[in-house]
Amino acid sequence: MSVTSAPTPVTAADAPLPFFVRFRLKGAPWIPILILVLVLIAAVGGEGLTPHDPNGLNLGAAFKPPFWQAAGTYDYLLGTDNLGRDVLSRIIAGARVSAIVALYAIAFSGAIGTMLGIIAGYFGGIIDTTIIRIAEIKMAIPGLALALIFSATMDPGLSTVVIVIVLTYWTWYCRIIRSEVLSLRERDYVSFAKVAGCGSITIFFRHLLPNIFNTLLVLMTLQVGQVIIFEASLSFLGLGIQAPDTSWGLMLSDARQYITYAWWGITMPGIAIMLTCLSSNLVGDWLRDLLDPKRRQL
């Protein structure tokens, strides 16, 4: 990493093309992409798409099994819960909560972690030591334990869930982006920019950020599944999303007491979680292999 090394081909050949132009559509994980698109449509469409009111009580129709069982009807495709609410409608409504939580949590933890990672990696020295030390201290408290102590203090709800996830995950971005920047800052074009009189802000946004964009995209895609599982776990414990809002974790929490007579109540929302997480992990792995072959074992 000296000034005398040859110009790296990475910047010359790869950088000018936007990432999507380089997508090789062959071999793309189409089914996972399709599933994620469906979840997004459900999240955006919300109650316009649900066959029934997700909160509509109908005690006469309680505990209807899915349609393929003898007692099931096509009216309630995935069955109903203890209060006669349509499971499919509630899964669609829950997609919205998952999407909102994932969007905010990833945006904020990504932005905070990336900024701190760039600052730590670029300036080094005492700033770096301080940021890394804070990250290490945060990591001394396991994620869910941090969530518990936070939930004991704040009122549970969507914003508390987002804050807890941001507090938990910023270090993840910070550490990976920092190590990326540590190698980037030694590159010739950063040195030249400095010599040419560019300020730190210019170097951040023009020279560092575009180069970590691929890593960031992969990290964010891979985080989707983790955020959804985290939210579901909190809501399952009763510390996350609160009724009358619906989330997949909350559905599982409600259905848990009726596990002996309504197997679909705990199966269906879980499958929704599994398919969404599996899809985002597969898309994330694919993006990582596509954009950044170096990190295949990340």
Binding site: P142, A145, L148, I149, S151, T260, I273
Partner: protein, 304 residues
């Protein structure tokens, strides 16, 4: 060696101190810690007494040192739900959690080691495919859902194993599988890539060329070296199980620390939450420290 020990211990101490600061700051976020630490129906005299005791009229940093000083003496306050000191309650519940985490860890290794080794030896075969599918599924499902499905299948459906409680060995099986499921994925992948690397090394090829039996090569010569990278992440996964126990213990009504802390959050038993989270953090930090230490003993190359 001494230097590594001292440095690691210092780092661990700083991390634990920092964790105590975070716990303190979060507990002051709501503005009125007294309302968190006392039951809602507490009389005014008790509120005043606690305010006095916590030194709430003093500056925040001074309050932190009061908190820290008491914590060092093991005094987190009284659990008003259980009518005993919070720390004593935490230590009473901790063994059950460690038992569960150990069982879960054993389960994950029992599954991951053969799967990882065989995936590497028969690379690209059906075993490798199964390993990959288990890894993918393991990271896509929450542990509490694995627990619910296990209850549905083995307790409700087949009625082989009990769903709740902790009376005997049969009670630990389902929670241990639920908790141990998640790390299987990462452990399999690490063993597999470690084995692939070692199997490709010169001494294995040498051994093969002189006719050493393949079974000996794989399990005696290659496996031991492939185990090294696993050791480095073992601490992380054991520690993450202590944290995962919060949810899994709640699903299976396991009488450990995790469920106690979750219940304490609901009954606003704040001293127990504080003590439970700090003790979990200390275990987390210490297990990582021990792993770092054991790693430098196993692999002299990193003793720099």
């Amino acid at each position: 060696m001494k230097a590594i020990f001292a440095k690691g211990l210092l780092n661990a101490a700083i991390s634990i101190l920092g964790a105590s600061l975070i716990i303190f700051v979060i507990s002051r976020l709501s503005g009125d810690p007294v309302s968190l630490m006392l039951p809602m129906e507490a009389p005014q005299s008790a509120i005043d007494a606690l305010k006095q005791e916590l030194g709430l009229d003093r500056p925040l940093w001074e309050q932190y040192f009061i908190f820290l000083w008491k914590a060092l003496q093991g005094d987190f306050g009284q659990s008003y739900r259980w009518q005993m000191p919070a720390l004593a309650l935490v230590f009473e519940r901790l063994p059950a959690t460690i038992y569960l985490a150990t069982a879960a860890f054993a389960f994950s290794l029992v599954l991951a080691i053969p799967l990882g080794v065989l995936s590497a030896v028969y690379r690209g075969s059906w075993i490798d495919q199964i390993g990959r599918i288990i890894a993918m599924l393991g990271q896509a499902v929450p542990s509490f859902w694995v627990g619910l499905i296990l209850i549905l299948v083995f307790a409700v459906g087949l009625q082989w194993l009990p769903a709740f409680g902790a009376d005997g060995v049969q009670h630990v099986i389902l929670p241990a599988i639920a908790l141990g499921w998640y790390p299987v994925a990462a452990q399999t992948r690490i063993i597999r890539s470690g084995m692939l690397e070692v199997l490709d090394s010169d001494y294995i090829r040498m051994g093969r060329s002189v006719g050493t039996p393949e079974r000996l090569l794989v399990w005696k010569y290659a496996f031991r070296n492939a185990l090294l990278p696993l050791v480095t992440i073992m601490g992380v996964y054991f520690a993450s199980m202590l944290s995962g126990a919060f949810v899994v213990e709640t699903v299976f009504a396991w009488p450990g620390l995790g469920r106690t802390v979750v219940e304490a959050v609901f009954s606003r038993d704040y001293p127990v939450v504080q003590a439970g989270v700090l003790v979990t953090s200390i275990l987390f930090v210490l297990s990582n420290f021990l792993v770092d230490l054991s790693y430098s003993i196993i692999d002299p190359r990193i003793r720099l």
